[in-house]
Symmetry: C2
Subunit: 428 residues, 2 copies
């Protein structure tokens, strides 16, 4: 049951179905235009990165009510026969406009518009929010870590601490999009065509009679791919043992890859290891680090002179500890020809369909959100299928380079200007 | 691809596989005893609740390398033919001892022991941590909210903000375990045999010409199940319109169920609604509230005299904003007959297999963790399959009642005593 072999169509809040039945019953079949946006940036964040469209594409393609879904709904006693028959043969008639993946965006800018007969578009709310919310969060966080690491490669180590298997997959794709080099998650590596990567665990060292025996057994098997975990007992001693093993292999013509530090004073240990390897004529040994890293720790450790050739990032990436979720919403902006908005105290919205326009050349200057303008160079584009990952990676790198400088920093970023113009009421 | 039809066996960090190959190659086939535990309580938490075993059971049963898994692993170039043949026919030979679901436990107490030929038990590390980590977090959080709500029913509204579909399912089961009444997640409702529940969205109100028209259309269809969302425009006005509609239906002999408040000053609005409904002879109308609720907000709103008949809890529950992950680990405690431990600076462990014993009668007094004692009344019990949910719910309620009082509170709980006795080195 937990293996998720079911169709995803029932991944929906009940009220989407009860509202859809009400639309069906009262003959409300005009097109609804729903907009997805995020109200606020998490603390210390200067931008968001669009992501999740590969999964949205799969979801929309797979969307249909299987006979057992319909039978389950019948069993709840909430739905009439005619509506259940309608669901059983429902084929989605929706159009999607959205920011392409890898686009940088800001709060309150629409990132997607889903339109279709209002019942159809309503049914998609729950799972589209589920997909986009965490995909955007994790892609943005991966991008922030890429910026903090300043060119040093990062590997996704987060599978074990993710909240679920699909969340781990979303995180791995966010990492890929932000240019990370590899993932430890074999399932994600296969699906996303990323290099799988890994070192060794403390248990491997402990299971052997000695650290040295464990290192030799591993190096014997993996040769130049070997990364030795040196902090199981005493890190300085472990580093020296790793060097001894590396020297022996070097004499046989095999250059081991390096070591991993995972606890203690990582900056000091990395400096010691770099110096020691140099003294021993083992400059080729690389130093990988892991252990509760986030973008702040990475940039602080680099500022303190840490000697690193790669970062392994887990918990703080895959569950996005600082921003495990964002206030992402799916709001009805227009029904048929009628622009709509809600006015409730703390959750007001702007009426009608919208365009998002970015001003500036080499450097972005400001964004403008205005009522739909078919002649504009709109950032929201018709979506049919996901782009190749390289296109997305390049878009993100290009846009990062074009961001006004203080907007992209990891701490206390400047606020990027977004103007909302041409709406009857300025309630934002 | 995102629909997770694959077998879960590749949901594993690469190093589990490379270490397994090393064990296989060097003839290390003795039993490894791995322990799962959590190092620290999140801030303000006084206990954890065990959960996740239904999913662990499914995972262990489904564990096998499909031919396409083996082919993928071959393509990485890291694995030799003999090891790939071993994987292709591998049948798990593992035993599990663990706390039954619904058991309350504390930091550094083993919650599960997985033993088997070391390669087998090693391969399970990544996904068992993935399952147990979030299942425990979400069950504990649901329990904390149950305590804060003091008997008022809670409904899981969190699907849209969950990090993925399986995480939403884990959260729904945590809610069920903690005695919540229902979930909005239709998929979870079906799989877990929980009542599905929901009200209406702001979009439904906006799509109609007026709030009153929307309310009447919904009530016409759902009668006594109708809950009207009254905060789309002006909450006081919305509450009065809901009362008017309810009065009309009452004259036809139909008692609508109630209203939902989702923004603004919910305590004041709820007091107004209760008073107004009473004045209008509509005391039967219930007041449901939602909107960024967590256990602190729920208890503060109750303390402020809020008039509530039910809570809908979303974001802060399904992503566990305050503790989106915990430091859950899977450590080798013994290989064959040899007790093991690691001594690295900040991540030391206690050697050998263990028993967990709880002292006290009506009230729990303290826990003792000691080297494996087959004669003890051990909280760790052999696991074969998950128990019925009612058994788990009753265990949790019983244990909550037996907790020393200040341990269970939501804010600044007392620390429950756990002694670690009989180990050669006291490194914790």
């Amino acid at each position: 049951m937990w293996m998720m072999r079911a169709t995803p169509t029932l991944l929906v809040d009940l009220y989407e179905l009860t509202m859809a039945q009400a639309y069906f019953r009262t003959g409300m079949t005009e097109r609804g235009y729903f907009e997805v946006f995020i109200r606020h940036l998490p603390e210390q964040w200067g931008f968001f990165v669009m992501a999740g469209l590969a999964e949205v594409e799969d979801y929309l393609r797979a969307f249909r009510f299987a006979p057992e879904d319909v039978e389950y709904l019948r069993s709840t006693g909430l739905f009439a026969d005619d509506f259940l028959r309608y669901l059983a043969v429902l084929e989605l008639d929706v159009e999607v406009r959205c920011l392409p993946e890898g686009t940088i965006f800001f709060p309150n800018e629409p990132v997607m518009e889903v339109s279709g007969p209002i019942a159809h578009a309503q049914l998609l709310e729950t799972y589209i929010l589920n997909i986009l919310g965490f995909s955007i969060v994790t892609a943005t966080l991966a991008t922030r870590m890429t910026l903090a690491a300043g060119g040093i490669p990062i590997v996704d180590f987060g599978m074990r601490r993710a909240q679920g298997p699909v969340s781990a997959l979303r995180a791995a794709r966010g990492a890929q999009l932000a240019g990370w080099k590899a993932t430890s998650n074999v399932f994600a590596a296969r699906l996303l065509n990323m290099p799988p990567s890994g070192t060794m665990a403390h248990s491997f060292v402990e299971a052997h009679e000695s650290e040295e025996e464990a290192f030799r057994a591993f190096a014997e098997l993996y040769g130049e791919k070997t990364i030795l975990l040196v902090d199981t007992y005493d890190t300085t001693e472990g580093t020296k043992i790793a060097a001894r093993v590396a020297r022996d292999f070097l004499q046989r013509g095999v250059k081991l890859r390096g070591i991993r530090l995972d606890s203690g004073d990582i900056v000091a240990q990395s400096k010691f290891a770099r110096r020691y390897f140099k003294e021993q004529g083992l400059e080729f040994l690389q130093i990988f680090v892991s252990g509760n890293l986030d973008e702040y720790k990475v940039s602080d450790m680099l500022a303190a002179g840490g000697q690193f050739d790669g970062f392994g990032v887990g918990t703080h990436f895959t569950v996005s500890r600082q921003a495990p979720s964002v206030g992402i919403v799916y709001k009805l902006a227009q029904y048929g020809d009628r622009p709509l908005h809600k006015t409730s105290a703390d959750k007001a919205t702007l009426p009608g369909r919208k365009s998002v326009i970015r001003l500036g050349g080499q450097r972005f200057e400001k964004d403008i959100v205005k009522p739909l303008d078919p002649t504009a160079n709109d950032l929201l584009r018709p979506f049919t299928s996901a782009e190749p990952i390289t296109t997305i990676q390049e878009r993100l790198q290009h846009q990062l380079a074009a961001l006004p400088e203080p907007t992209e920093v990891t701490r206390n970023p400047a606020s990027y200007p977004v103007d909302f113009v041409g709406f009857a009421e300025q309630v934002l």
